[in-house]
Each structure stands twice: as structure tokens, then as C-alpha cells.
Symmetry: C2
Subunit: 233 residues, 2 copies
């Protein structure tokens, strides 16, 4: 199995960064191949803009998705997008590893999706959810956050965590066709003891070991909708 | 009333960009003052990183929120963050105007939140939700998307739109203490007729005119939770 870990933490000594090494070791010890894309180390540009396209299909009016398709067809994607897209295409399991910023992805990682999840390659037309072009691959969020576990849940202060993460879990990864695994959330990391951190890393090992049996999040099937995306009775 | 419109579309001729002019005119005709922060025009840097802090509290280990507090106290915030923060502090109504990318904010706008929503100024400690430091201000999303209105809703293909937008509506704006207005969604914009666009702009005018009566989204009150954020009975 090819594992791609896309990592986005600004502090290389962080617990979040240590999770990457830990997962890499664990996957490699099982015979898997692991590639890490460290977005901060690469100084990855997260801004989808006209600057991404030197040879425009329509130089007068930018429609980002259409220019993505044009650039892909003509082999004129910028080198950084082409590189990440090749990694994405090669992987069987995509792991996004990050600190939760405002209950969502840090901008550098959001922009990785904005620029690399290419129209016509990752999704397009009616190719989304269970017909998304990433079908057959799995995706997994592993992240750190300041909040505690009891702050999430139906009656908890922040509500259900997976619901808070919906735009990435369902709206991005599920939409693109990935089988989306239940996230691994490392709660309260800035405040916990060394012992608790050791224990959390052991839980991460166990999660890696149990990935084949890990819960998948349910998403819509286009089989249940007509071509205009109205629900079928 | 001071209105701050933070705008993030890469195409200045877009419908989304035209919404900014339209809202500006409408607010100004009512005697309000409008400032537009055009993130693409400014080439705003969305990446929260060590580069934001020249004078570090802890040069050996970056905790972004703690360095934000340190820089704010010592008046060493980078000029771009200080400028946006001043605009934020001065506004009574914050409008985020953008094309929906992957059911969420374009990275350049997500990074505006990551970098400008400063710990200790916008939120901090137990100052969040109805005790967030932006209390007394209102916030409003106005955005364009490719999807059609019938694709959102409890039984629809993408589920409820406000739920999909939860990390920004509740997790960012609500968390910071804003009164969060029901969003204005301009559906299916890339595909609609000129007549439909004209009509949509009229609906935007009407929404601006009706802002005082516009629905507010409900968020938790810290009054209902103990200091550890367990729900009170």
C-alpha cells in the first residue's frame, strides 16, 4: 500500500509533527510505502489564482476549474500542483495531518485541496461522492486540537466533531470519492502530561494497526438521486 | 454603522466581485461607511507561520496563539495582520464574500481568519461563543456556489447548507462572539442567465435592506456550561 501523509504544522517539534514520524514508522514496519508531503517545509503556495495558469484557455476571464482542466490536458500545470497531484494519484491511503485551526484545516492545507483536487481528475460533472474519481482510495484525518473530548458530542458545547468537520470529511474527501475513515483526534494536546502523550502515540499505533477494520463515515450514493440530483423515491 | 467586506475572489469581473460593489453602494446609500479588504488584490499571505513573529516570546518552540498574544502586547504584529485587525476592530458588521471552494472558504480567506482572529483580542480563555470578544458585532456570509438550491436540505444530496458551513458559521464567527446572520447564498451562479443574475442582485439589495430583521443563527451560551464546559443540568 502507498500511503501519502500531507502534513501542515508550522512547528517541526510539535506533537502533530511527531505523529507523522510515528505513523511512517508503523506503516513501514508493516511493509507499506510512505511518502510525506510537508507543506510548511515546502513553503507550499495555498492560493488558487490566475498565477497558476501561464497558458490560459480564456485569458480574459478566470474560471479556476476550467483552467485546471485546460492545463491538465495541455500538460501546463505548475510544477508544485503537478507534483502533489502525482503523489495523490499514486496513493492508496491519503492522510491529512494537521492542528485544527478554527475547527477546520490550516489555510496552507485548505489550499492544497483547492489547488490539487483537480477538476476532471479528482471530481467533475456527476463524478462525485460514490462516483468521485478517487474511488478505491481511502482518506484519514489525524489531527491535534486544544479542546477536550467532552466538549464534542450532541449535547456538548461544540456539538458533534464529525459534523464540525463536515466540509472536509464529506464535502471534500467524500465528495472526491474516497472511503473516509473515522478521524483520529488527539485532544487537548497543548495541555497534557508526557505520560498522556506517550499513551496517545500508542493509541495512534493501534489505530494504524486497525485501519482495515476502522469505521467508515457514511455518505450519499448517487444511485439514490436522479440526474438533476433530486432524491429518488 | 461601519461595514467591513472581506472579499476573496481571484477574478475581478466575477459575479462574486460584483456583489461587493452592489453591497457597498447599497450600504452607502443608507448612510453607512463601507471598507473593502480585497485579499487577492492585496496578495494577502494566508499562512500562519513563524515568519509572522520577528520578536518571539519563545524562539525555540512555536505556539502560534501565544506568539500572537506576545506580539500584540509588544506591538510587533506584522503590518498586514495589524492592518486587518484594525479594520476588524472598527467594524460593526463583518461580511465575508467569496466563492465556495470545497464547501468552505478559499484558502486565502481561511488564512485571514487563522492570522487575524487573534488570541486575546478576538477570543481567548473562556471568552468564546456568547462571551467571545467580538460580541456586539454582526457577521454575514455572502457567497457564490455552483450547486443549486435543491441540492441542500435535510434529504438533499449535500445535506443542510448551514451544517456544511458550520466551522465558519459556528466554529469561527459564532465562537468569536459575533451575532451570525443567516448567509446569503448565490446558487448556481456560473450557469444562470443574465436575467437570473439581475434578479439575484435585487435579492441581495433586499437582503441588505432587511439586515436588521434577518434571522440570526443560534449558538450555545456559556451560561449553560460549567467552567470545564460540561453541560449544566
Amino acid at each position: 500500500m502507498n500511503v501519502l501523509i500531507v502534513h501542515a504544522h508550522p512547528e517541526p517539534q510539535s506533537f502533530c509533527s511527531a505523529m507523522v514520524s510515528r505513523m511512517r514508522d508503523r506503516f513501514e514496519s508493516q511493509g507499506h510505502s510512505v511518502t510525506v508531503s510537508d507543506l510548511y517545509a515546502k513553503q507550499f503556495n495555498p492560493v488558487a489564482s490566475a498565477a497558476d495558469f501561464q497558458d490560459r484557455n480564456n485569458p480574459d476571464y478566470l474560471v479556476y476549474a476550467l483552467e485546471q482542466r485546460h492545463a491538465q490536458k495541455n500538460n501546463t500545470l505548475p510544477a508544485d500542483i503537478a507534483e502533489e497531484l502525482a503523489l495523490l494519484n499514486q496513493c492508496d491511503l491519503l492522510i491529512l495531518n494537521f492542528p485544527l485551526y478554527w475547527f477546520s484545516l490550516p489555510a496552507i492545507l485548505k489550499g492544497w485541496i483547492d489547488r490539487v483536487f483537480l477538476s476532471g481528475v479528482v471530481y467533475g460533472g456527476r463524478n462525485f461522492y460514490d462516483r468521485g474519481l478517487m474511488k478505491g482510495k481511502r482518506a484519514w484525518l489525524t489531527f491535534t486540537l486544544g479542546g477536550r473530548e467532552h466538549m464534542f458530542g450532541d449535547d456538548a458545547i461544540h456539538g458533534d466533531l464529525d459534523t464540525m468537520l463536515r466540509p472536509v470529511l464529506r464535502g471534500s474527501l467524500g465528495y472526491a470519492g474516497f472511503d473516509v475513515l473515522k478521524p483520529f483526534a488527539a485532544y487537548h494536546v497543548p495541555y497534557i502530561s508526557q505520560e498522556a502523550r506517550v499513551e496517545m502515540m500508542e493509541q495512534l499505533d493501534a489505530a494504524v494497526d486497525g485501519l482495515a477494520e476502522r469505521e467508515l463515515l457514511p455518505y450519499p450514493s448517487l444511485d439514490n438521486f436522479d440526474p438533476q440530483m433530486n432524491p429518488l423515491k
